[in-house]
Symmetry: C2
Subunit: 335 residues, 2 copies
Amino acid sequence: LLIYHREQIEQALNPPELIQSLEEGFVAYSEGRVVVPPVGHLYFDVPPGECHIKYGYMVGDDLFVIKVATGFYQNPDLGFPSSNGLILLFNQKNGSPEALLLDDGYLTDLRTALAGAIAAKHLAPREVSRIGIVGTGVQARLQLELLRSVTPCRDVIVWGRSRTKAELYKENMVRRGFSINVASQIEDIGSNCNLIITTTSSRTPLLYADQIRPGTHITAVGADGGGKQELDAELFKKSDICAVDSLKQCREYGDSSYALKNGFISEEQLIELGMLIKHSKLSRSNDDQITVADLTGVAVQDIEIAKLAFSALHGAALDEKAAISRAAEPFDLSK
Amino acid sequence: LLIYHREQIEQALNPPELIQSLEEGFVAYSEGRVVVPPVGHLYFDVPPGECHIKYGYMVGDDLFVIKVATGFYQNPDLGFPSSNGLILLFNQKNGSPEALLLDDGYLTDLRTALAGAIAAKHLAPREVSRIGIVGTGVQARLQLELLRSVTPCRDVIVWGRSRTKAELYKENMVRRGFSINVASQIEDIGSNCNLIITTTSSRTPLLYADQIRPGTHITAVGADGGGKQELDAELFKKSDICAVDSLKQCREYGDSSYALKNGFISEEQLIELGMLIKHSKLSRSNDDQITVADLTGVAVQDIEIAKLAFSALHGAALDEKAAISRAAEPFDLSK
């Protein structure tokens, strides 16, 4: 069993290079070539906490993946992060454990950001005038980072509930080459941006239909479970393309679920990201369309990112081994 | 994250000492103090294989447990064992991963054998004249080993489908202080033994009601999934006490499930091992009763054995650390 820590994982991966493999994962998922049983859950009362076990595999692959994620929301009071977890990779041909990725949730953050970049790649207008970021946390940072490889636009407006955190976000991202303005009100996002990413754990809508201009694409990544909502349901009615990562999940939760339940859209109007990737004619056809992508997070992303990390790490380990063995070879004195 | 391998785990544990804790686990399970969601399953076609994820916790405990077990039945053809797996322990108060037990299935074997010893402790006749072992594999060995602490009887008859394996079993167990006879026919078990353990993965009954003498106790540990059966269903009709580890599971599979489905016994006649342990008046009341225990394996055993292993290993690690730090202390020259 090979064991890798977060630092090694971060060093081994070049995120923009992973976009294509993640796209292939979404396509495989939408084509039914991924086995993903229902998520396992454990809930705790004292202190309140939860554990989710996601597992599955791509048919015909070499590996299968089990991801364990925990959330204990009183941890920050004690000085620990609230989320934790790890990923196990097993051999799909003989069942033996191959690797343990102690990624501290990094790969989950990354696969979510990669999905955002993929949605923007297929749905953003040709010319992004300004990017709007809603939220100021890890996803707000990662999503913007990953958009680099999708659009040349570096002009950004950020909005967050906490002005202090928004200023901190600005400071961080300016250092990384972006031009950042902090919005004093959320309405500034819709009226100034035509590519918007919402990354909060809000339980009430933040963006409304009447705030959004024609030609805008919005990706919402925050509503990954019941009760969470970032986009008003009517926004889906106003959209020309409503993409989701998983039809099955979005029936139950995610922003689009509210639009479905309110009858603002029918299930036939939702299109899975995997289908958009595969059939480019289903994507945005002009620069006046409003498009929206509701990303709730699907296990195929975990499967793909775990495999990519393992392959990068394992490759690096093999390279190092080869380098050591080369170094250990005696010089050929006959030359 | 602390990581322990099979050898360390075997060295740290003294199995007979674990009986009481396992008993407490069964009692907690029967009293509803254990949270055990449905098992997660993955199935593979090429090559055929499966993965089972068992997880749960005892309410109010410090830890929770996730066990991953795989079975790939063509592995032996390639020179690998068919089963594999590992156990993860997480902190129940903050969700952080505490330990990984790379036990190669040892703890599963051990917890199964411990359950057998517990069943015998509560149901075997006062005087065990001879022990009958059906099967010649790992469980056949471990069950007999664990019976040492429950009965002074060392006189054993073994039966297996393969005479060669039965002779090998004899050789092994004679070396460990048992007197072993190899039965030439399965009927010899019932007619000569009053404590019988069946440990096979048989899919057709091996022991029948008319083979069993009054005063006999039988524990069946092989039928841990659908389709497996070691005891004829009528044997339950003839038994005075029918114990099971989990009523819920035995409705679906295990030897007793066939007796239930055939109407030979009603569910009210089945008693959970945890209840037997707690209320000694429910146990065998005389030496003429026939008793049977159907053990299908419950997650509380995995939870208990993982905690016990971790505690033994962690304690040993702390002792070692203390010893090193003591050794490193300079002598007090003032004395």
